[in-house]
Amino acid sequence: MVINKRVKRILLENKAQYIGSIVLIILSCFVFTLMSQFAGNFERLASEFQDGYVQEDAAFRVDQSIDNLQELESAANAVIEEGKTFDYKTSEGKTLRIFSQNDRVNIPAIVEGKELSGSGGILINPAFAAENNYKIGDELRILDKSFTIAGIMALPNYIYPLQSEEMMMPLPGFGIAVISKADFASFNQGSNFYAVKYNDADHNPRAQSAEFRGLLESRGINILQWTNVEDNKRVNIVDAEVDILNLVSKGVPTGILLLAIILIGNLIGRMINRESTIIGALYALGYRRKELYRHYLIFPLLIAIIGGVIGTILGTFPVRFMVSFMFTAFNMPLTGIEYNPISMIISLLLPIILLGCSSYYVIRKELKHSPVELMKGKKEKNKVNFLERVLKLEKLKFPKRFKIREQLRSLSRLAFLLFGVAVATMLLLWGFTLKSGFDDLLTGGSVYTFEYEYKFDKLRYEPLPAGAEPLSASLFVSEPEDKRDFYVTGVKPDAALVTLVDESGTHLTTNQVIITKPLANQLESKQGDTVNIVRKLDGRIFSVKIDAIADTYEGKFIFMPLADFNQKFEMPEGSYIGAFSNVLLNIPGNQSYSVVSLDEKLAAIREVMAPMQSMISGLATMAFIIGMIVIYLVTSMIVEENKGTISLMKIFGYRKKEINSLILNSSTIVVVIGYIIGIPLTLSAIGVLVQSMENSVGLSLPPLKINLLYILIGFIVVMISYELSKLMCRKKVNAVSMSDALKSGME
């Protein structure tokens, strides 16, 4: 059709508007492709690793070695492998957890280098190698023996190498290593544990664990610790990560795509409205409605195709980089990147379908009028909408009234601006909220006033020196199937190293049963309530009466006096399994233990925050671009629609400044409202994310809030993008000539 020759011309005439729309589609498809391919690869690689290297279904420790494992394996219909481990301090602040090599369950995967062969070889995890600049072939001294690094490896039960399960993130100086069973035996130290993999893959592993535990108990084997793999934070954080990636890969692109749909719907609607006379004439000349539909649909489809193709292609490039970057934190072999064609097709088709449908609706709405109505055209343009009519603005000064009316003139334009600014705000504050949370973790630690946390492999009875307090702890859940576990911890009555306060800020002494707030929320319990809790180790149910609720979000705990703990949970009187301390303890060499300092925990948080800064910068840039596009396009539309008014104002003697203030500043209030709306939206979006993390890994975070400073910074970023957009539009206002008003009547 010859009228399609107009398409290119119209696109070129309104470059900024159409380029803006294309950029939004590109951003949307880019984020969707990147995040979904990233999540898909992450999930696939994790699953391949877990299956290929026989990840345990459960791990347990018992009070003595199990004889005749082979017979137990056939009785339990499982593969059971005994492992050994101990922590070795390679230098100040650096701890290597050394494992004996398994060859049936939790088999180390070689990421680089080669497997262990014979004596004297060692495998270490990638993060520890990178941090200490260890290369294959380097020497590493463990106790009095020298080892050569044979390879870099990943262990399926240490994907996220947490030193202890209570931690949220790996410590910077912590690493894992594997040596041969013979080499390990030569050290003559370390504790035993067993990794079990059930043969019946169809049967629920948790149920099989319960049966297996029963089998062990029936044979008089005393289980000291039991962890099902789905409760293992070193593994299940992978699921949480995939959940987050899936959530982000859907949420962010959907928001941007919606923005693009509203924008393009607006553009097409306005174009048809502007061209109603031409359309009427074309009708009158014999053009069919179908032909006009086809003509006007070219615009959104072209935008969707260009944006979709560019965004999808661009989105595939950084997938490998993102996965590699992620694998610096998650120890897994990166065997290859696969691109899921279905998600690429979705990325390509979704904008085409959504833009096509929404634009079709807009076109149908405009083209349903008769040729005569269309040729008259102006009726619709000057229609006064409900809000314009209802709002009584008489009491306001003229400039304010003018600006409000200007914004109310087009409700779709107003919705686009509000929504656009809110989306930009959400992206911006998303990063800032996470940073706020980490800031709180760094600065808000007021509960624990100790320097070191010790964890012993066996119960101790020896008195501790001054500055150290004993503790005992067991993992519990509220019901057998609940993934969200928590610790019940026995501490010294009147403990000095654990400081708890209630909601009013009154100090709570630890000679009573105290529950922390997130756990009280999870268990829906109040002061004075009695709660039933299930010990994870053996599934036994205990009742605990809550004396007080501690106003802290630092973990999910029930604290009680150590003597009561031992009595209630049938532990030997006077025993303890760990200690809080402000001094380094002198532990005899034959006793296994691990120690974590508070400084190391903080260092870990700081380390995690470093890459987060670049993520926040990335989000801020994207928010800035979206903000700029949205505000610039809306301001352009306002200028375009007000050409006549601007021209009139010039004739009446308005100065440039006054025109700019009335026309360009009219969006200020909407931008501010959009920003304000964005704040609770951000919090609720992150709330969904945190809830999903809590459900999958039992993470407890304080109620989300954004630091006021970050709200201010976010506001400044949005306002800068607003000011820049206005600056760009100022030229357009200046270009409006006075003759525009002289040539055309507005009413």
Binding site: K381, N382, K383, V384, E388, R389, F398, P399, R401, F402, R405, E406, L408, R409, G644, T645, L648, M649, K650, I651, F652, G653, Y654, R655, E658, M738, S739, A741, L742, S744, G745, M746, E747
Partner: protein
């Protein structure tokens, strides 16, 4: 002399084609007079009025309005000139569609040093009861009344009217002319009107006939007819 124009020339260039629109215009109007410019399309009426109103500039010659040499003003001064001295009534009213009648008048009073009261002006054009209506809800004649009220609210020294009755029917046109006459009498406003309609010239003090960019007739009207009695 309130308006004193001598040897005003103006031409437009389009590619290689140069069109001389005004070819040495001479025009004089006293303060408080009504002047009418008659002429066919393309004769240069609008260009002449635009230059007098400070909307456009002449290429050469002098344009003095109330002692201000309009052609020599820079952009900022020209803006001040329009802001303080000139009122404009358009053929197609040019009201801002999303502002009410009252607000359309405030568009001008908002920037005036000593504007007249909006309600008084609306009463003068008999539109006080439609102050909160939107332009779309008014007839053509009513819209032109609002346009006139907007032009006079700043109490301009010179009121320029570009075909003020061009889009109106006979009765409505006459009522607008009566209003113009009233404004002229009541506020002493000098009025310069462009029209195709030769009958309107009867109410003017001075009539200028323009043809191909030149004044071909400059008549001082000795027998002024009140707008009420004008017929065509």
């Amino acid at each position: 002399m309130f308006i004193n124009i001598s040897n005003l020339k103006k031409s437009y260039t389009s590619g290689v084609v140069i069109t001389e629109v005004l070819k040495g215009i001479e025009m004089k109007i006293d303060k408080g007079e009504i002047g009418v410019i008659l002429g066919p399309s393309g004769s240069g009426k609008s260009t002449l009025m635009n230059i007098i109103g400070g909307i456009d500039r002449g290429d050469s010659g002098r344009v003095i309005v109330d002692g201000i040499e309009v052609n020599n003003l820079n952009d900022d001064k020209l803006t001040d000139y329009r802001r303080e001295h000139i009122g404009v009534v358009f053929q197609f009213y040019n009201l801002v569609p999303n502002l009410t009648v009252g607000e359309n008048i405030e568009v001008v009073s908002n920037i005036s040093k000593s504007p007249l009261n909006t309600d008084d002006v609306l009463a003068a054009v008999e539109m006080q009861d439609k102050k909160h209506r939107f332009p779309r809800e008014l007839s053509g004649g009513e819209q032109q009344r609002v346009s006139l009220a907007r032009a006079i609210v700043k109490n301009p020294k010179l009121l320029l009217c570009d075909e003020p009755t061009g889009a109106l029917d006979y009765q409505t046109s006459r009522s607008i002319l009566r209003l113009l006459e009233l404004v002229n009498k009541k506020f002493g406003t000098t009025i310069l009107m462009i029209t195709h309609n030769a009958a309107i010239a009867a109410m003017a003090n001075r009539v200028f006939k323009l043809r191909s960019g030149q004044i071909v007739e400059d008549v001082v009207n000795q027998g002024i007819v009140p707008a009420e009695r004008i017929e065509w």
